[in-house]
């Protein structure tokens, strides 16, 4: 949920990376953190298990620049993808302005992708949000691996609404900023619509 501060001339928006376990959500944030210059980012916070799985969330605040004299900030969060962390996922989704769904392109993760997408839809609905009516983009990650599902097939199964979608290799950064930019754009245009 955006926060417009006329006093400090700031606008904050919340973006959530969603997707099944090990699809590469945290890897997206780490890459963004590494490639952003120091004065436009805050600390990255990762609440993770000892084996580097997200336990509660990752958080990265980004200050991208100004629009009409207002500093625009994006607060990026990832959810924990493992199925049994559903209660935490619901909490992270609270007040979200836009969602990036990171799908794992590997054939054997197809079912996990579908399950996670349904879970996203349901958890949004529980707080009165409709996935089909909010800023949303999809990233097809791990395109570097040999056993990936073709993008047309991924789109057919995961993207019936045909939202913007990007092929990515989060581990090397390919597609990471394209995905974020597209969603950020949509989020701001949505704020414009509402104003």
């Amino acid at each position: 949920m955006s926060f417009i501060n006329y006093s400090a001339r700031e606008i904050n928006c919340k973006i959530v990376y969603y997707g099944p376990g090990l699809c590469g959500k945290t890897t997206n944030l780490i890459y963004i953190y590494k490639k952003t210059n120091p004065d436009s980012k805050g600390k990255m916070i990762s609440l993770a298990t000892e084996t580097e799985r997200t336990l509660f969330f990752d958080f990265l605040p980004l200050a991208l620049g100004n629009i009409k004299g207002f500093k625009v900030r994006f607060h990026l969060y990832t959810v924990p993808g493992q199925v049994f962390y559903d209660a935490s996922r619901k909490l992270i989704l609270r007040g979200v302005d836009g969602v990036i769904f990171v799908a794992d392109s590997q054939v054997e993760r197809m079912e996990a992708n579908i399950e996670s997408m349904e879970n996203l839809r349901k958890n949004l609905k529980d707080q009165g949000l409709n996935l089909d009516a909010m800023p949303f983009v999809i990233q097809y990650n791990k395109r570097d691996l040999p056993n990936v599902v073709p993008v047309e097939e991924l789109n057919r199964v995961l993207n019936p609404r045909n939202v913007p979608n990007f092929e990515a290799v989060a581990a090397t950064g390919k597609g990471v900023f394209d995905t974020l930019k597209e969603l950020a754009k949509t989020v701001i245009m949505e704020l414009k619509k509402k104003s």
Binding site: A8, K68, A87, D97
Partner: protein, 163 residues
């Protein structure tokens, strides 16, 4: 649609800042700050120079969200006060109304009793300020005089953001 985002105006911001300062002083606190339930920092007062207030805000909200989730499972409405005791510093976290969180960091120069008392007093003031803000937001929506900085942005403005 669920309720729209939080908006902060100059006038109320000054009142919030003044009340946070007052609380900071009267409670002998190190730092006082207000966070919106989604983790965005609203205002802070005190020894914040060496403090990552943005991260603190996000973790505070996560903390409240997690205990709120626990409360639900236990059939409680919400745990409206959290207290963390450290070796040197202590943190008092409390809910103001249903969307704002007040945080007070204090050490041995103060005490939990004093902090509790002052937080209670300040909470009443904050509740009033925030209800004024909500009224204002509703009114602005009605008369559509929308001073929103977003009303006239273009795709170019957005592209420029990413340089």
């Amino acid at each position: 649609m669920p309720d729209s985002g939080l908006v902060m105006y100059e006038e109320e911001f000054k009142q919030i800042d003044a009340e946070l300062s007052k609380l900071h002083q009267l409670a002998n606190a190190k730092v006082t700050f207000l966070v919106d339930k989604n983790g965005q920092l609203i205002a802070s007062v005190g020894e914040t120079q060496n403090l990552d207030t943005t991260s603190l805000a996000s973790l505070t909200a996560g903390n409240i969200a997690a205990t709120g989730g626990m409360a639900k499972l236990l059939g409680e409405k919400e745990f409206s006060i959290l207290f963390h005791e450290g070796e040197k510093d202590n943190v008092h976290i409390s809910l103001i109304g249903d969307r704002v969180i007040l945080v007070v960091v204090f050490d041995q120069r103060s005490s939990l009793g004093l902090v509790r008392l002052r937080v209670k007093k300040s909470s009443e003031v904050f509740v009033q300020i925030f209800s004024k803000i909500m009224d204002k937001v509703d009114k602005e929506k009605e008369n559509k005089s929308s001073r929103s900085p977003f009303a006239e942005i273009t795709e170019d403005d957005i592209d420029r953001l990413f340089g």
